[in-house]
């Protein structure tokens, strides 16, 4: 087992290197530079712009810039933001709590809806409950989050005036009041993201359950005289959850990566909004760091999913 993990980690190195080369080249070839806004400011002479480009090494050839970046990354230096003039790791760490809180809660909400609904719908396929659950799921994943987000804002903020639609990181107050405010402002983004995720996950859980529920060993279990609940939970779910676990594991990087659209709508200062604003301002070091960290997480969670497989299903052996 440990040998397997070690080997997988060794394989991960060249693939991460490959990813970083692709990312770096794409970003370097992308048009625009971080000092674009200065160009229209008549106060800033063009020479100053040229000096800035030179200072940040933007005029060096691509391979040289890549090697600089790689060397720094190996020393734990994630780069230096052109736009904020601070270290990228500090920028990212500042944004991480909001993303973990909101996206994490949304994932938990999605699971809490998807698993019971999916399981129950699968035990009674084509029943009224199943039909309704399916219809809602289809509606849920057909509606994009930018639409439901704005709809929620119009209903709950503008019309009803119940919830704030601007997420603030510095809520005044302490103790229970702080906790309540934190929950209150997260309700809308968590609901928007959670329901969207839940919709597709419900379908997935349902079909995974249906695949298993028809197998012979389930019939055997029933024939033994076991109760419905025990059959479903102990025998069916345990096997049906294997692909679901993979799906969840592969979605974990997204918890760190943030949700660009939802974060933008609700002004959540998370990784997603950092990424999009950095892309818009051509802040290459930040874009590079965020996307690369994201790539690392994907590789890592893929490995975790594979290891989990072996643990959940002893028939699968890892060599």
């Amino acid at each position: 087992m440990s040998q397997y993990i070690l080997r997988r980690l060794m394989i991960a190195i060249p693939s991460l290197l490959g990813i970083s080369v692709v990312l770096f080249v794409v970003l370097a070839l992308a048009p625009g530079d971080p000092f674009a806004e200065l160009a229209t400011n008549p106060n800033v002479p063009p020479e100053v712009q040229a000096a800035l480009r030179a200072k940040f090494g933007l005029d060096d050839p691509i391979y040289l810039r890549y090697l600089h970046w790689l060397n720094a990354m190996l020393h734990g230096d994630w780069g230096f933001s052109f736009v904020s003039r601070m270290n990228v790791d500090r920028l990212i760490l500042q944004r991480l709590p909001a993303t973990l809180y909101v996206i994490g809660s949304a994932q938990i909400l999605a699971l809490m809806i998807a698993i019971p609904v999916g399981v129950y719908a699968a035990t009674k396929p084509y029943s009224l409950f199943d039909q309704i659950a399916n219809t809602l799921a289809f509606i849920g994943f057909s509606l994009p989050t930018f639409f439901t987000g704005i709809l929620f804002i119009l209903i709950f903020s503008v019309t009803l005036d119940w919830l704030p639609f601007v997420y603030t990181t510095d809520i005044k107050g302490t103790g229970i009041h702080w906790v309540l405010e934190m929950i209150r402002q997260a309700i809308m983004p968590v609901a928007v993201l959670g329901l969207f995720q839940a919709a597709s996950m419900t379908r997935f859980v349902r079909s995974a359950m249906l695949d298993v529920i028809r197998l012979d060993y389930v019939t055997t279990a029933r024939a033994k005289g076991l109760g419905q609940a025990k059959v479903i939970v102990k025998h069916v779910m345990r096997n049906a959850m294997i692909p679901v676990v993979t799906l969840i594991a592969l979605q974990m990087p997204a918890v760190f990566g943030g949700a660009i659209v939802t974060e933008q709508i609700f002004r959540i200062p998370g990784i997603g909004s950092l990424l999009i604003s950095s892309i818009l301002s051509n802040d290459t070091p930040v874009v590079m760091a965020v996307t690369f960290v994201f790539a690392c997480l994907v590789v890592l969670f893929n490995l975790i999913a594979d290891v989990l497989y072996g643990w959940l299903d002893p028939r699968i052996s890892l060599r």
Partner: protein, 597 residues
Amino acid sequence: MLDKELRSMIGQVKDGRMDRRAFIQRLAAVGLAAPAAYQLLALGGVAMAEGPSAYKPTKRGGGGALKLLWWQGPTLLNPHFATGTKDQDGSRLFYEPLACWDVDGNMKLVLAAEIPSVQNGLLAADGTSVTWKLKPGVKWHDGKPFSADDVVFTWEYTKDPATATVTSGTYRDLKVEKIDDLTVKITFPKPTPFWADAFVGAGAGQILPKHQFADYIGSKSRDAPANLAPVGTGPYKFVEFKPGDLIRGVINPDYHMANRPYFDSIEMKGGGDAVSAARAVIQTGEYDFGWNIQVEDDVLLRLEKGGKGKTIYAVGGDTEFIALNFTDPNVEVDGEKSSMKTKHPLFSDPAVRKALSMLVDRDSIKKAIYGRAGRTTANFLNGPEKFVSKNTSWEFNIEKASKLLDDAGWKPGADGIREKDGKKLKLLYQTSINGPRQKTQAIVKQACQKAGIDVELKSVVASVFFSSDVANPDTYPKFYADLEMFQIPMSQPDPSQHMRRYHSRYIASKENKWQGTNFPRWVNKDYDAAIDAADAEMDPVKRAALYIKCNDLLWQDTVFIPAMHRLKVEAAANTLRPVISGWANETDNLFDWYREE
């Protein structure tokens, strides 16, 4: 304005026969705005006076929290590294200049004790130096006294090429020296009619504390802890900063202006988009003030109905224009299109340029797009008032344009598109991707079609269009199109920088890596001469006349077709009394903001 009459009026003010207010009113009657009039007085030997203040609170603090919404949040808090006005706005909460510009473009004292003038001896009559007296007793937020050393240091810091500040253009040619602890003298390399650039306003003027930055000058500049935690002299003290997301500050109890500031704490939230920012201020009232609300007027009017806030407008000098290319964008000479060695095949006929200007329906553009945030204009230079030409006019007339083209020999071909000598009237019209700009393009294209001109529209991502990337063909300085539309913000109440750009000396070309500012590549000897004369002209009246002449030359030659004179649009809670100037950053007059129930 009549030179003689003005002179006699200035004389009357000097002798006390006419009071200052009457002078301003007389000038306003002939179209000169107060800021211009004040500078006239300053240079005519009468001291510039501060404009009246409408500030009502009679004690410091007690105003609760002020919540600002900047939909592009500041990403750094060192004003001399600002990559956009948002960063200047954020820094200006804490740092201060010697003086700033109020709503009417009057100079307002901040850290200076007296406005320099020829009369009080602080401004050299030949415009080669200006002396600033500093307010005594001002303290930095950490308790250290503010002095002339800080002003001199700010100059040393910004002019150092290794520091790589974006404001170095303002400071590198000056000499700043300390006369005593509360006096600094700025010496200019040549007569400088507009002396209020260095140390004035939020753009370049914010003064840094020497004791915080002295060890971080030059290449070490990025390591200064104060880059992210400013220690200033402003009305609010720094508490917290999260780039792009949030700035927090609390009242500075030792602030140097009486009864100010009004608010106990301040918060500047970033992120999102302009429409939802307008909603959070006008409709739900979650925030007190929303910055730069570039939203269609229809939407704003709808939000304002029964809302908790309103939009406010500030007049500055920002002009949205369509520039004409005087070189050929389709022929490559020495690896460069739009080369000075070519002439534009269609626009070299003045009739085509004139006809085009008649095909821009400015009224429709105002009605359909800008609404209350725009004014139609014939001029390229739209402010300050004293520099605005009254000699120009514009019209929208498709028939007249068609006739003009007919007379010039441009006859419609079989496909309805006009042609002459085998050259078809087909134009490529580019701009940056931005809702109002694409709509303007559509309005212009439609009118051109009716007149037999085929217009192809092109939209470029703003980050490319405005970039200085030499390798990219789609930037505005390269101008590989026949027409292009955008605006160049006018960041100070003086036209010198703004107009100097189109001197033939500054033509954008491959040779200067397209860093030249004259992107239409228009050459006019009279214009060059007028600009050179204005740059050295100390007589304010003659100087204004020169800039008016420059504007008129641009108009005569149809170098630019001004599509709209754009105003600043902000959203504010009904109870908030913000002070917003069209000539300054939104936070430049923050010390005067208060709330009235």
